[in-house]
C-alpha cells in the first residue's frame, strides 16, 4: 500500500498540520490533542550488532521498543523520566538514558544493551566484577549500572573512588549497593589500566 492510500497516515499528517496551524492561531485547547495519533512507521535499529526492523509509532521510546516490542527486557524502567538510570544503554559507545531517547532517534546508531556485553558464556569483566563484589541486591538497577560503567570507562575521566561516585550518580541503587559498585568498577578500571598503560 502506498503511503498516500493509508487513511490513518493521511489523518495523522492532517492532524499534525491542523494542530500546528491551530497552535499558531492560539485556537487549540491543549486539553484536546487529536484523538487519532500514533501511526506506526517503519524503522531499522541495530541492537547488539543485529539489524532489527520495526513498525512502531514515532513516539515509542528506545526503552519501550527494547522491552515491549523486541522483548529485550534486560534494560529496566525505573522512572521513565531520566532520573534513575535503570534504562542506561550504550549508543555508539556513549551511555544514554533509553527512556529519554525516541527509538527513531537511535536509528543509524549501534545500540548496545546489557544482553550484548558478554561474549557467549564469557562475562564482560564488569559483569564478573559485579558478581564478585556483590555490587547489587535486587538486581533491578544492575543492567543500567553496568552499561553506565562501561560508558564511564570509555570516557576515561574517573580516576579516584570519588570520581566514580560523582560520574555514576545518574544511576540510582535503592538497595544501596553503592560501595560495592565502586569497588567493582575500580577493580576493572585499574586492571584495564595496568594491561593498557
Amino acid at each position: 500500500m502506498a503511503p498516500s492510500d493509508d487513511p490513518d497516515r493521511r489523518d495523522f499528517i492532517q492532524g499534525v498540520t491542523a494542530g500546528g496551524l491551530a497552535l499558531g492561531l492560539g485556537a487549540a485547547t491543549s486539553a484536546d490533542p487529536p484523538a487519532d495519533v500514533g501511526q506506526p512507521i517503519p524503522m531499522k535499529l541495530t541492537i547488539n550488532g543485529q539489524d532489527r526492523e520495526l513498525q512502531i509509532e514515532p513516539r515509542v521510546t528506545l526503552l519501550d521498543a527494547l522491552r515491549e516490542v523486541l522483548h529485550l527486557t534486560g534494560s529496566k524502567k525505573g522512572c521513565d523520566h531520566g532520573q534513575c538510570g535503570a534504562c542506561t544503554v550504550l549508543i555508539d559507545g556513549r551511555r544514554v538514558n533509553s527512556c529519554l531517547t525516541l527509538a527513531v532517534a537511535a536509528a543509524g546508531g549501534q545500540v548496545t544493551t546489557i544482553e550484548g556485553l558478554a561474549k557467549g558464556e564469557e562475562l564482560h569483566p564488569l559483569q564478573a566484577a559485579f558478581i564478585k563484589h556483590d555490587a547489587f541486591q535486587c538486581g533491578y538497577c544492575t543492567p543500567g549500572q553496568i552499561c553506565s560503567a562501561v560508558g564511564l570507562m570509555a570516557e576515561g575521566h574517573a580516576k579516584s573512588d570519588a570520581d566514580v561516585r560523582e560520574l555514576m550518580s545518574g544511576n540510582i541503587c535503592r538497595c544501596g549497593a553503592y560501595p560495592n559498585i565502586v569497588a567493582a568498577v575500580q577493580e576493572v578500571q585499574q586492571l584495564a589500566a595496568k594491561e593498557n598503560p
Binding site: 490513518d8 484536546d32 490533542p33 484523538a35 487519532d36 495519533v37 500514533g38 509509532e57 515509542v60 519501550d64 515491549e68 522483548h71 529485550l72 527486557t73 534486560g74 534494560s75 529496566k76 524502567k77 525505573g78 522512572c79 521513565d80 523520566h81 532520573q83 534513575c84 544493551t113 546489557i114 544482553e115 556485553l117 558478554a118 562475562l123 559483569q127 564478573a128 559485579f130 558478581i131 556483590d134 547489587f136 541486591q137 535486587c138 538486581g139 533491578y140 538497577c141 544492575t142 543492567p143 573512588d161 566514580v164 561516585r165 560523582e166 550518580s169 545518574g170 544511576n171 540510582i172 541503587c173 535503592r174 538497595c175 544501596g176 549497593a177 553503592y178 560501595p179 560495592n180 565502586v182
Partner: protein
C-alpha cells in the same frame, strides 16, 4: 550438620542472571495478545466522583476498553492484612467499585489498549470531575484519633514505676519532641502486574513480597478458590515493605484482563506509586529521659502520634525499641494514631524501630551532654540484665560486644567530647553514634526437599527474593543440611505452586524457611531410609541414622552408610521427596529475642552553608550467626544507605490544600545516589543464638535503625545545633539554636 557452606561469602546463585539482563521481573512476562493498561487516578483527596467522561478515550486508536466505577465488575473486599487468615489486603477502599474518593492518587479509571503508548494517550483523554470535601492531611488535622487496642500482639501502653514523677524529680534530663515525615520506599522496580485468565483460573506475575497473600486477596475479590489463582514473584526489584500487601494495581490488572478477555499488563508510572502504594507515615514523638549523676536512667518516656489511613489501621510501632533496650525503673510508653485522607500508610523497612530509634537515640545523646558522660559509656552503664519491660531473659543479647566492636573499628576514642571541638580546615567535624535494634520474628514456613538419583537436590518454598539473597542463603543452608556441595542444590521460590511461605517481612524469612527446610530434610531421612532395603542401612530406624555427606550414615558406625544417589539408583527411583510445615515455637514468649547494633557516623559540616556530608560510617551488629558473609554485608550496607537518606535527604512533600504529593519523582524525592554515600563498613559479632533455627537472626531491617540518630548526633557534635526533625536540610540546620 556440618557448616561447610553456611557463613561463607558465597556469590549469589542468581548473580549471573542479574548481571546479564536474563533475570525476569514481573513486568517482563509476555503472553500472546497481551494488552496494556494505564490507570487514571484521582486529583482530590476526599469526595465523590461527579462525572467521568470516557467518550474520547473509548474512541482513541487502539483502545480496547475504559473501565470506571460505572462499568467495572463487582469485586469483594477482603480482610485487611494482619487478620486471622493469610491476607494481603492493603486497604478496605472498594477501589473502582465506588464513587467515593478516599485519597489523592486513588485509581478511578483503567484504560486498556493494544500498546502502552495508546493506553497512556487515551488515559489523558479521560475527564473526571468531583464533588470535593475537606480532607484531613496532617498530624494536627481533625482526623479521628485512636489509641489502638493492641500493636501487633503487644499492649499499646507500657507503664513501669512512675515515669512522669521520676522525670519531675530529676535535674539531669531531656524532654523533647522529634518528628519524622512521610517516606516512600521507591524500589527501583515499578509496581507491575501481568494478569492472564484461562477460563476460571487466574495467573498473575506481580511485584509481590507475599505471593500467598496476593493469591488469597485475588481469590476473595474475584470469588475464586485460592487453588485457582497462581501468583508468581520469583524475583522482585526491591520491596522494602512497599510490595508487602496487594495494592490496588495488583487486582486492577486481573479486573482489566477480565473485561477485555485477554491478558493485561499494568505497570504504575513512578508518580502513580506515591498515590497507589502507601509509604511510611509521618510521626511526632515526645521522648523524655532522665538520669542520676552516674548516668543511670531514672525515667524513660516515649509517646506520640503516627498517621494511619481511613481505610486501614496501620500502626507504626515506634515505641517498640524502648521496650527492650535500656535498664530503667520508670518507663512509660504509649502511642496513638490519627486517620488521614491519604494513601494508607504501610510497612517500610524496620517499621517502628526505624523512626523510634531516631527519637530515642537522639534523646539519649542529648542526655549524654547534660551528664558529661560519653554516649558509648552511657549505653554501657544502662545495660539491662533482663528485658526491662517484660522481665524475660535475653535469648542471646550481645549488644555490648557489638558496641565495643563498632567503637574500636570506628576509632571512637579520637572524639573530643565538646560540640564544635573538632575541625578540618573550615569544615566542622562531628562524630556521633546510636544504637540499632530489631526484633527476631519467626513465622510459619513450609518447604519441600527432593533428592535425585543423579546426586542433585531441589529445595522449594514459596518465599521471596527481592535482593536479600534468599535463594543463595537457603541453598547454603540446604546444602549443609543434606551434606551436598552447593552446586548440587537448587532453591526455587516465589510461586504459589510451591509450599506456603509468609510475607517477606519482619526480617523473618531466613529462619522461618530454614526451619521448614530442616524439618523437610528430617522427613526425607525416613522416606529415603525406607528405600534402603539392602546394604548397611537395611532395617534401621530413622533415629539410628544421620543425614550427612549427601546420604544416610549410621550413628553407631559413622563410616557406614550410603549416598542418596546410590540408594535411589538401587531402588530404581529417579528421586525421593518430603515436605514439612513448621510453626514457630514458644521461644518468643520465653525469651526476649532481638538483634542489636551500634552505628557510628562521621560528618563534615560547612559552617556557612549548613551542608552535611557523611564521610564515614561504621555499623557493628549482633545478629546471631550470619548465613552468608557477602550478602549479609550488603544487607547492612543497604539499610545504612537508606538510613542516610532518611537523615539528610528524604521526605514526601504534600500540598496542604489538595493532598497532592508535589515531589512524586526520583529527582525531587531525593534518595541517596552514589555521590552521597561514603565508604561504609559493616561488622558483626557472629555469636549463634541458641534459640533460633541455624542460630540466625533476620538482618534485612536492623541496618536502617539508629542511622538517622547517629547522623543527627554527629551533626550536633560538629555544630552544637540539635535538629529533631529529619531530613536535616541546610535550612533546618541553620535555623536550629546553637550550643557551644
Amino acid at each position: 550438620m556440618s557448616t561447610t557452606a553456611v557463613g561463607k561469602p558465597m556469590d549469589r546463585v542468581d548473580g549471573r542472571l542479574k548481571v546479564t539482563g536474563a533475570a525476569r521481573y514481573a513486568a517482563e512476562h509476555d503472553y500472546p495478545n497481551l494488552a496494556h493498561a494505564v490507570l487514571v487516578t484521582s486529583t482530590i483527596s476526599k469526595g465523590t466522583i461527579a462525572e467521568v467522561v470516557t467518550a474520547a478515550a473509548v474512541k482513541a486508536r487502539g483502545v480496547a476498553a475504559v473501565v470506571t466505577h460505572k462499568n467495572a465488575p463487582k469485586m469483594k473486599v477482603p480482610e485487611p492484612f494482619g487478620g486471622e487468615k493469610p491476607s494481603a489486603g492493603s486497604t478496605t477502599a472498594p477501589v473502582l467499585n465506588t464513587d467515593q474518593v478516599f485519597w489523592f492518587g486513588q485509581p478511578v479509571a483503567i484504560v486498556i489498549a493494544e500498546t502502552l503508548e495508546q493506553a497512556r494517550h487515551a488515559a489523558q483523554l479521560v475527564r473526571v470531575t468531583y464533588q470535593e470535601q475537606p480532607a484531613n492531611l496532617t498530624l494536627d488535622s481533625a482526623g479521628k484519633v485512636t489509641t489502638p487496642k493492641k500493636i501487633m500482639t503487644e499492649a499499646t501502653t507500657v507503664e513501669i514505676g512512675h515515669a512522669e514523677r521520676a522525670l519531675k524529680a530529676a535535674t539531669l534530663k531531656v524532654d523533647a519532641v522529634y518528628e519524622t515525615p512521610q517516606f516512600n520506599h521507591n524500589a527501583i522496580e515499578l509496581h507491575a502486574t501481568v494478569a492472564a485468565w484461562d477460563g476460571g483460573k487466574l495467573t498473575v506475575h506481580d511485584t509481590a513480597q507475599f505471593v500467598f497473600g496476593v493469591q488469597a486477596d485475588l481469590a476473595t475479590r474475584f470469588g475464586l478458590k485460592p487453588a485457582d489463582v497462581r501468583a508468581l514473584a520469583p524475583l522482585v526489584g526491591g520491596g522494602f515493605g512497599g510490595k508487602g500487601v496487594a495494592w490496588p494495581s495488583t487486582y486492577l490488572a486481573p479486573l482489566a484482563a477480565k473485561v477485555v478477555g485477554r491478558p493485561v499488563k499494568l505497570v504504575l508510572a513512578r508518580d502513580q506509586i506515591y498515590g497507589c502504594v502507601g509509604g511510611r507515615p509521618p510521626i511526632r514523638q515526645r521522648v523524655a529521659v532522665a538520669a542520676d549523676k552516674d548516668g543511670k536512667l531514672t525515667a524513660l518516656i516515649q509517646a506520640g502520634r503516627s498517621a494511619t489511613g481511613t481505610t486501614n489501621q496501620f500502626v507504626e510501632q515506634f515505641t517498640f525499641p524502648a521496650r527492650h533496650l535500656y535498664a530503667c525503673p520508670n518507663i512509660y510508653l504509649t502511642q496513638e494514631t490519627i486517620a488521614l485522607d491519604t494513601c494508607p500508610p504501610t510497612f517500610m523497612r524496620a517499621p517502628g524501630e526505624c523512626p523510634g530509634t531516631f527519637a530515642l537515640e537522639s534523646a539519649l545523646d542529648e542526655l549524654s551532654y547534660q551528664l558529661k558522660i560519653d554516649p558509648v559509656r552511657l549505653r554501657q552503664i544502662n545495660e539491662p540484665d533482663k528485658d526491662p519491660t517484660t522481665g524475660a531473659p535475653f535469648s542471646n543479647r550481645k549488644y555490648q560486644e557489638a558496641l565495643a566492636l563498632g567503637a574500636e573499628k570506628f576509632g571512637w576514642n579520637r572524639r573530643t567530647p565538646e560540640p564544635r571541638s573538632m575541625a578540618d580546615g573550615r569544615m566542622l567535624v562531628g562524630l556521633g553514634m546510636a544504637t540499632a535494634t530489631y526484633p527476631v520474628y519467626r513465622m510459619p514456613g513450609s518447604a519441600r526437599v527432593a533428592v535425585s538419583a543423579d546426586g542433585t537436590a531441589v529445595v522449594q518454598s514459596g518465599c521471596h527474593e527481592m535482593g536479600m539473597g534468599t535463594a543463595t542463603a537457603q541453598t547454603q543452608i540446604a546444602a549443609d543440611l543434606l551434606g551436598l556441595p552447593v552446586e548440587k542444590v537448587r532453591f526455587e521460590l516465589g510461586d504459589t505452586n510451591l509450599p506456603f511461605a509468609m510475607v517477606a517481612g519482619g526480617s523473618s524469612q531466613t529462619i522461618s524457611v530454614a526451619a521448614a527446610v530442616s524439618a523437610a530434610v528430617a522427613e526425607l531421612k525416613g522416606v529415603v531410609l525406607k528405600l534402603a532395603t539392602a546394604g548397611p542401612l537395611e532395617g534401621l530406624k530413622p533415629a539410628a541414622v544421620a543425614v550427612r555427606d549427601g546420604g544416610l550414615y549410621r550413628t553407631d558406625d559413622p563410616a557406614s552408610g550410603e549416598s542418596f544417589a546410590s540408594i535411589l539408583q538401587r531402588a530404581g527411583r529417579k528421586s525421593a521427596e518430603a515436605k514439612a510445615e513448621v510453626m514457630p515455637g514458644a521461644e518468643m514468649q520465653k525469651w526476649s529475642m532481638h538483634s542489636y547494633g551500634a552505628q557510628f557516623c562521621e560528618v563534615r559540616v560547612d559552617p556557612d552553608f549548613g551542608t552535611v556530608r557523611v564521610v564515614r560510617f561504621v555499623g557493628a551488629f549482633d545478629v546471631g550467626r550470619v548465613m552468608n558473609a557477602k550478602t549479609a554485608r550488603s544487607q547492612f550496607l543497604g539499610g545504612i544507605t537508606m538510613g542516610l537518606g532518611m537523615a539528610l535527604l528524604e521526605e514526601t512533600h504534600r500540598d496542604g490544600r489538595t493532598g497532592r504529593i508535589v515531589n512524586a519523582d526520583l529527582a525531587e524525592y531525593m534518595v541517596p545516589v552514589h555521590a552521597d554515600v561514603p565508604a561504609i563498613e559493616a561488622y558483626w559479632v557472629g555469636d549463634p543464638d541458641p534459640h533460633t533455627p541455624m542460630g540466625a537472626h533476620g538482618i534485612g531491617e536492623i541496618g536502617i535503625t539508629g542511622v538517622a540518630a547517629a547522623v543527627a548526633n554527629a551533626v550536633y557534635h560538629a555544630t552544637g545545633r540539635r535538629v529533631r526533625r529529619v531530613p536535616i536540610t541546610p535550612e533546618r540546620l541553620l535555623a536550629a539554636p546553637r550550643d557551644g
